[in-house]
Chain length 431, copies 2
Amino acid sequence: MTSPLKVGIAGLGTVGGSVARLLQEQSAVLARRCHRPLQVVAVSARDRNRKRKTPLDHLEWLEDPRQMIGHPDIDVVVELIGGADGVAHDLCTGALQAGQHVVTANKSLLARHGHTLAALAESRGVTLAFEAAVAGGVPIVKTLREGVAANTIERFYGILNGTCNYILTTMAKTGAPFAAALKEAQTLGYAEADPAFDIDGVDAAHKLAILASIAFGTQVNFAGVYCEGIRQICREDVTAAASLGFVIKLLAMAERTADGVIQSVYPCLVPKDRPIAHVDDVFNAIMLKGDYVGEMFMQGRGAGGNPTASAVVADLIDLANARQTRPFGTAAAELESLPGLPITRREGHYYLRFQVRDRAGVVADITGALGREGISIRTLTQRDESHSGGSVPMMLTTHRCREQAVQQALAALAPADYLEEPPHLIRIEYL
Amino acid sequence: MTSPLKVGIAGLGTVGGSVARLLQEQSAVLARRCHRPLQVVAVSARDRNRKRKTPLDHLEWLEDPRQMIGHPDIDVVVELIGGADGVAHDLCTGALQAGQHVVTANKSLLARHGHTLAALAESRGVTLAFEAAVAGGVPIVKTLREGVAANTIERFYGILNGTCNYILTTMAKTGAPFAAALKEAQTLGYAEADPAFDIDGVDAAHKLAILASIAFGTQVNFAGVYCEGIRQICREDVTAAASLGFVIKLLAMAERTADGVIQSVYPCLVPKDRPIAHVDDVFNAIMLKGDYVGEMFMQGRGAGGNPTASAVVADLIDLANARQTRPFGTAAAELESLPGLPITRREGHYYLRFQVRDRAGVVADITGALGREGISIRTLTQRDESHSGGSVPMMLTTHRCREQAVQQALAALAPADYLEEPPHLIRIEYL
């Protein structure tokens, strides 16, 4: 009998609780799939007395998770506390320095400090594993790092935030406005009381920066992500998109070009017949393109205790089988530092919505401003809503053009007195 | 500089040629992702003088691939010859016995001898890797064996044969009959001159048996796969399915129940709104369900030189990074031998098509026979095609019932003189 791999779990919230339960419930399965048994020896959580589904009283309880650092009985620290700095950062840094493996689901930590932590892990010959940090139960980290490692990855895009996807799906299915869809998501536990982190795209941007590092062999560059959330998406946009054959999705996209990496998170119009367009509710999905494998698509549950626990324990199984990997696939010292390219470099199609006072000359003025920037119009819809007091929405889509040209045209239009609100721009991605 | 991992490639057909090219073209990417360099040292192919895209003249050419067995310069044998027995079997067995790793894309070999070969590899402490044997570039073997290893897998199903999927997609899109769609697939190189192996479902059954072993921790049991191909699918079926909200797909499905494993390959009606229904042309896809991860879906290119080479080299990268795995995840000695359950155990919905002479009493007779077996009818369509000389198709779907009951009803109807041909049965899978 080989010695067990001894695990300390820091944080017993939804995910931590599921990890503890999984390790108990699946012990027979895990025994067959691991060379060494997995054994939880210590836990740390804010409230020891909280009622839990899994009996944990026989374990060592540590008041401060930092007591796991260098603890002689702990081979692997499972960090499920969260937060880019503070205790989580102390714990992960300390444990790696002490020669302990770290398994974490903490995307904000990795987006901010992933490169430093990876270099530290490599220098100590231990593993920093984070399958659970991106797309919950979907093993996209392993797939990029190992499954398609023979490829030069050209680009990838995905739905990496279940909260936004739930809201956008609800708006499309029920015609609900943004605020009502958000409220429903909150009621169902899919959105936080303070939803900013999700709906402003920050969470998706964290995950994107992590995946881009693995895919392109570059240093994690969260600051280089262009990020736009979904607050400004209106019912009109959802309806107009549908009538043009699109759905609106918050996509996280990354592309490696000759002169840098483009990383962006924004809501966009996606043709209805693409696989990503069918990813509804809280599901996550990723489409990647490699030079040999071609397009590959994965879809699954991106959040929740059980799917996330599935990913955390997959990392533990790898460790129990002595399958070690550099955190980002490429050695940290060899990860390139490439410039992030600004969104103004984008070339593509655009959807624009103007809320205008219904009077003569408006269409000519708007299309004229676009024309002066060399932007040609593909479709134009003006809805007859004279009952709404002379204010009507005007939606148009463009042919392929430069983002910079669109921004300049919108800036030129900004002073126009017939505009009831600033123009809305949503990018179109034919994918 | 660490010593390279030395590779011998046996078989330089479409896949072997792509593997050789990939290893040359991606050498910079691979160097960053591997602890040890990958170096091809020897090759073996039937025709040395064939013109190839990749220069291989500097390598050692072996007349007989079996000369790789125990070759002191070869750490890994990449077997791309094919066939369940003969040279491929000799080579893999010999190489493993000699303590060399084996990477293979040979599904028929694994479906027949996978368990024996895995036991041999484990006893010698070497790896038998076969990502390329199932679903081409889609890393489903790694995903089942590692990515979702923390789960008890309840069931999975997939489209594992691109040839059949191309034919069925073409029939659905163009209205072509089976023979014409097959011919088109042959012209495009998607089907062999002798297509039996693909269209009779044997290829999908091989892949299913391999995946079921990993997913359920059971011994590969190819003989236990119930297998039906797509030859009998007619335009009428495709049209009727579409009008009922279904598409026809050849699904490979496996489920672990309390008393055994059900493995089956058959064409079936799938609701249009399921992800698998959108998998068209030569794409492969798999949906799995784990108790923690929930449903997870993967889709990509299941065949062709480049995607398959992506999978072969992924296995080589794992080896160059000392990531070793038991071939089927569970130790060969612990893989259970469970009975395969017969298809008559199935309970579900059915689509039946009868080509009948149009005369009084036929509908009553058919529905009566079904009723006597307790089968209740959900929809019934009889098309008015009196121009076709009194022979009309009658399509019906059933409510949930036992397969055995359906088979008995059809047997009872067999002698009926109004039947122009034997009744067609296609199962419906709501998934």
